[in-house]
Amino acid sequence: MRKDGDSGARADAGKHLPTGGLAVTAGDAIAPPPRPRPAPWWAPASDTERRVRGRGERAPLGFVPLAAVAVVFLILPLVALLVRAPWGSLPGDLTAPGVLTALRLSLVCSLGALCLSLVFGVPLAWLLARVPFPGRNVVRALVLLPMVLPPVVGGVALLLAFGRNGIAGQWLDSLFGVTLPFSTLGAMLAETFVAMPFLVITVEAGIRAMDRRYEDAAATLGAGRWLIFRRVTLPLIAPALAAGSALSWARALGEFGATITFAGNMPGRTQTMPLAVYLALQNNAGAAITLSLVMLAISLAVLVGLRGQWFPRR
């Protein structure tokens, strides 16, 4: 199957070409022309600039101050966190036994949630992207529901499903003697519940966007389905896999509502970092800030690690 884009001019490249210019086809290795450097917002647009930049690039009146408010609003709390951090007592706070326990538990639970999301979410994403089974859209909507569901509601729902008297939980209890609520495994499951949809939606988009003809090429070379998936599909969707993993891991790491509802708040077993922060804020604000700083650092690391994915380089 030919790529449909072959014959069409690339939209973004065409925009900068004078009319009557050659159509740039996808096959040509022509770099898009460099974007004109945007002038400062206060500079009046010249006629040439208006022509080059085209419609829609000059902000409607009032957008710039409104956007500035948004930026300040988003950044100020983070600045406050840094300004008010008890830098002097930081080393002591960080190494306090409770902190380390919560940090370790958080990492175990969030990484466990990520693993569960990968093991079950990637096949689900593949099926949603590739197999046109009846009710696919309904399944997708239901699977993505936890993304928009208030986490506390998720926790309650988990309790009703996997709690000691839940519809699945009572069987788990009587058949295998497994009790999920108020256990580390329970905390991990609560985090998986809210985190997996992020992985599924990102990986599904990645699988849909990839050029399937690479898989065809692999098949003509003698590769079976599993080999194709492992050696061709997975590497090709690696960026989406990385982005989805980071998103769902970050979501799992910060999970609060579902965890505290389903797994409780037991130090060493289910008290993850967000729970510890909330608790510490009641009696030791300094420790809460310290813990928050740790999580801020982790979030920043994820953001920096994925900057290529989320902020495409021009």
Binding site: R213, A219, G224
Partner: protein, 351 residues
Amino acid sequence: MSLEARVALRKGTLDLDVGLTVEASGVVVLLGPNAAGKTTLLRALAGLVPLERGRVVLDGEVLEDTAAGVRVPTERRPIGVVFQDYLLFPHMTSLENVAFGLRARGTPRATARARAHEMLDRVGLAEAAGARPRALSGGQAQRVALARALATDPRLLLLDEPLAAMDAGARAELRRGLTRHLAAFPGTCLVITHDPIEAMTLGDKLVVLEAGRVVQAGTPEELSSHPRSRYVADLLGLNLYRGRVDQGAVRLTGGQRLIAADPLPQGEVFAVVPPRAVALHRTLPDGSPRNVWRGEVQDLDVVGNHVRAHVAGELPVIAEVTPGAVASLRLDDGGPVYVAVKAMEIEVYEA
């Protein structure tokens, strides 16, 4: 080596129904306009698109037969494919790309790598073994794709527009290289193209596909002398001759001599005579034309605002003349004419 295929399927607006028989090894070129179903036919042969009706038999082995319910999956067909934009796996080096098929078929890693090295060496790319596809030029990528497809020793090799991604300057060179590699391939080879020059130079046999049907099949000579459809006529409307450079002229396979302007290349060549460079006269022309021979106007074809005259004779040729010339020379009456072509107008290049 033989391929016997009948492929019938519908895809979108395409209604493909094609019979294809290749008796011996050699290069068969599948020529046709866009959306004629060339790529779909190739994908069907490779097993990437299921047939609705038909069968594919390669060297007596039934690969697909809808009547008998047989369908060998793509990965178990002895078919190598060079895709249109090569589709080299971007996350693997050239060597890993070439070794992929061998590894997929269970060859131990060391053996596969050694064989991949050998294949890359054969296409002259030993030094690019460690390079990722992104770092390769178009011509290099094409050769890696060829090496990858050949590494598993397929009995049928399919190439989809192998030269389409190349710029015009590099094409002639790459075409010669490709011709050489295909000549060394022992099995059957099917090449898709929409470029008539490519079709004439690569193929021993041409199959012209139009709107999902074979409209003509035969040798390039057969096709260019007797086009049987508007498409073929337009496409092969130029006069292409094959021959050998001999004493400052081109001796054609039929024995005639064409005198072309210096410098001439050596050995086997193609000579192209554009129809508009062919002049027709009722009397022996005087003056400079170096190539003059007798012929007989057999047919006139109006194409746009000019007329194509099919002239039979010592050297069959298509001439493009003005309606005025047709009237003043009374070409529509047929009869003998003198055909004149200036040496300057004949383009000669290596085969």
